[in-house]
């Protein structure tokens, strides 16, 4: 790949990095990344991957921009309210970096479309807001042999890990979705807007590390942070022999969606971090 002069300039701060250089930037520019959800996590992920010049960015989201999204979904602007999120995201990505090919899917990620969609990508980023889809992304990527970044945020907290084929998966640590009536989501529990940026930029950095083969990925480790005390913690994860999807005798061999979480936030609940 021969970079034009303007590309050399645009990506100069990557090229200057010993671990990346022109070769690494070429890998980024040839990379194909799917971001599931163009919301709180997807927004910073897409902005940074667009700026980095990822060759193809896939964006899947079936929602339209809502006024209540703008507090944290920084890829969408006030005039975008009512617009499909994938279109709003595509417009910003193209303005940031016309080098990037953007593929939009104005749909939700389901057991039916999962394999077809992830097949065209090297790396998948989970930017979704509910457990059924988080588990679906895990299962699709494990069964499809794809690398992905898991992300979850709530209130003042976030957690993330990276999966490569052969390393611990979401089900190794969390097995199956929590009971639907126990689940608080952002729409029910709230989230500090900047938390989405903190976690999403970690996911974007992991994506760029994956594409360039730089450093040690966040595999077999779960990184969590609590922004109230601004403490970060890493817990070792282990690939589990009895994991229902990546274990020795998997019981999940095809994709299914768990029931959607529908609940009211329980009063006076606490959600201790440490």
């Amino acid at each position: 790949m021969d970079f034009r002069a303007d590309q050399i300039e645009r990506y100069s701060r990557h090229i200057l990095l010993q671990d990346i250089g022109v070769e690494g930037q070429e890998k980024i520019s040839k990379g194909k990344v799917l971001v599931v959800g163009a919301g709180g996590l997807g927004a910073p992920v897409l902005l940074y991957l667009a700026a980095a010049g990822v060759g193809r960015l896939g964006v899947i989201d079936g929602d339209v921009v809502d006024l209540s999204n703008l507090q944290r979904q920084v890829i969408h602007f006030t005039p975008d309210v009512g617009k499909p999120k994938v279109l709003s995201a595509k417009e910003k990505i193209r303005q940031i970096n016309p080098d990037v090919e953007v593929v939009t899917y104005q749909a939700f990620f389901t057991a039916e479309n999962a394999f077809d969609i992830i097949g065209g990508y090297d790396f998948i980023v989970d930017g979704t807001d509910n457990f059924p889809v988080k588990f679906l992304i895990n299962d699709a990527c494990v069964l499809g042999g794809k690398a992905f970044s898991h992300g979850g945020i709530l209130r003042f907290e976030g957690q993330t890990f990276t999966h490569l084929p052969g390393t611990a998966c979401y089900r190794c640590a969390f097995h199956s979705p929590p009971p639907p009536d126990a689940v608080p989501t952002c729409s029910q529990a709230g989230v500090l807007g900047a938390i989405a940026g903190m976690l999403g930029t970690i996911q974007a950095a992991e994506t760029l590390k994956f594409l360039t083969g730089t450093g040690d990925l966040l595999t077999d480790r779960l990184l969590s942070f609590q922004a109230k005390s601004m403490t970060f913690r890493t817990v070792a994860l282990r690939r589990r022999r009895h994991c229902p999807v990546c274990g020795e005798h998997p019981v999940i061999t095809a994709l299914h969606e768990a029931e959607q979480a529908v609940c009211e936030l329980k009063k006076n609940e606490t959600y201790p971090f440490i």
Binding site: G37, G42, P184, Y271
Partner: protein, 71 residues
């Protein structure tokens, strides 16, 4: 009854044995035990087994919280 030291999420804690994982959750005021996944010495423990899994001296126990947000 004996005082023992365990680690919860990397922090040392003194507890009184015997104690089950289920009781440990209650002592830690986890009001939503359904929203926590537990590893003992790196091994996943099924939710259904919390009440009959004993805590032992020196155990390293990780409470991993489900976080479902992202939008």
């Amino acid at each position: 009854m004996s005082k023992s030291t365990i680690a919860i999420n990397g922090e040392e804690r003194e507890i009184t044995l015997p104690l089950s994982l289920g009781e440990l959750i209650k002592q830690n005021n986890v009001s939503q035990p359904d929203m926590v996944s537990i590893q003992v010495n790196g091994e996943f423990v099924f939710r259904e087994r919390f009440d009959d899994t004993p805590v032992n001296e020196g155990d390293e126990i990780d409470f991993l919280y489900f976080m479902g947000g992202g939008r």
